[in-house]
């Protein structure tokens, strides 16, 4: 639920990093925290267990620049990835403006990715939010690992797309992040839309800011 504060000239938006446990959600936030100038970010809050597993959430506020005289303030949240923390995970989605699904590219984490994606759809639906209509993208993380699954397999499992019913949207939409690929296209006589995806190695920071900028842009465009 983006909040436009005319008194302080700020637009506040909430972004949630979702995904399976140990997939790199907290690492994304830590990288942003380290690289953003202290003037442009607030305190990072982590509610974690003694072994540094996220218990409730991590939180980091960042300013991403000024548009039309309004400071754009993004509140970044992660959820606990572990399956049994669903009650607290769901709470974090309340009022979300944009979602990043951080998938773990390792072949052996495929099931965990699929389970977490299903859980995201379920939790969003319980709030009445439609994931096919809100700013949402997938980050395939850990691309540097030798056991990383091919993007094609990950896309087939996690981002198969949904049918486009609106005739006005039934036309090819190029994927701005991958030349030659499309976000909306005809597949077996059916128009299908997929969410944008990006690749990353969060531990070195590769792809972290590209992901943040991409989702922030999608969120701000909903206000334009």
């Amino acid at each position: 639920m983006s909040m436009i504060n005319y008194a302080s000239r700020e637009i506040n938006c909430k972004l949630v990093y979702y995904g399976p446990g140990l997939g790199g959600k907290t690492t994304n936030l830590e990288h942003v925290y380290q690289k953003v100038s202290p003037d442009a970010r607030g305190k990072m809050v982590s509610l974690a267990t003694e072994t540094e597993r996220t218990l409730f959430f991590d939180f980091l506020p960042v300013d991403l620049g000024t548009i039309r005289g309004f400071k754009t303030r993004f509140h970044l949240y992660t959820v606990p990835g572990q399956v049994y923390y669903n009650a607290s995970r769901k709470l974090i989605l309340k009022g979300v403006d944009g979602v990043v699904f951080v998938a773990d590219s390792q072949i052996e984490r495929m099931e965990a990715n699929i389970e977490s994606m299903q859980n995201l759809y379920d939790n969003m639906a319980q709030y009445g939010y439609d994931l096919t209509k809100i700013p949402f993208l997938i980050q395939y993380n850990k691309r540097d690992l030798p056991n990383a699954a091919p993007i094609k397999d990950l896309q087939a499992a996690l981002n198969p797309g949904w049918p486009v019913e609106d005739p006005a949207k039934q036309k090819e939409l190029p994927d701005p992040y991958h030349a030659g690929e499309r976000l909306i296209q005809l597949v077996d006589d059916q128009w299908v839309e997929r969410v944008p995806y990006l690749e990353s190695v969060a531990i070195t920071g590769e792809g972290v800011f590209d992901t943040l900028k991409a989702v922030a842009k999608l969120v701000l465009k909903t206000l334009s």
Binding site: M3, A7, L220
Partner: protein, 164 residues
């Protein structure tokens, strides 16, 4: 019908002034130290009273999480909600109250007053603030309506800031 997403809403200078008036009146009548107003998504809307020494943004996000977690606990024991929460410290305490199911009023106080006094005064302030927020949300466009936003026509500027 599924909502596209949580709709956006806005706070203008007049709303802000009215909110602050109510918060300042509460502080004066209750002898509390300071008050913060936080939305359910964890964003700080306003604060009044003594200068705070902690990070208000982090405080706001934790407040919303605290309230949400307690809401779920309430449901588990068969209550629709806990409309207020009280956290007692040795010297400093805080009292949190729901306002119109939209925002949370947080009052920090010390030994100069009592929880009974704070609770009594907060009750009235919650009624006043609820009126302000009801008006604000009525003004916000309905979900799914044509939401011409504050950044209408600013696509180029957004592209420039984040790369086309």
């Amino acid at each position: 019908m599924a909502e596209i997403a949580a709709s956006s809403w806005s706070l203008d200078e007049n709303d802000y002034r009215r909110i602050l008036e109510h918060m300042n009146a509460l502080l004066q009548e209750s002898s509390a130290r300071c008050a913060l107003l936080v939305d359910r998504a964890g964003q700080l809307l306003a604060n009044a009273g003594e200068q705070i020494s902690f990070d208000p943004t982090a405080f706001a996000s934790l407040t919303a999480a605290d309230f949400s977690a307690n809401d779920q606990l309430a449901k588990m024991i068969g209550e629709p909600e806990f409309a207020s929460l009280f956290h007692q410290g040795e010297k400093e305490s805080m009292y949190l109250a729901d306002v119109a199911r939209r925002v949370i009023l947080v009052v920090l106080f010390d030994q100069r007053t009592t929880v009974g006094m704070v609770r009594l005064k907060v009750k009235q302030t919650v009624i006043e603030l609820a009126k302000v927020f009801d008006e604000m949300f009525k003004r916000a466009p309905a979900p799914g309506a044509d939401r011409k936003g504050v950044l209408e026509g600013a696509e180029d500027e957004i592209d420039k800031l984040f790369g086309a």
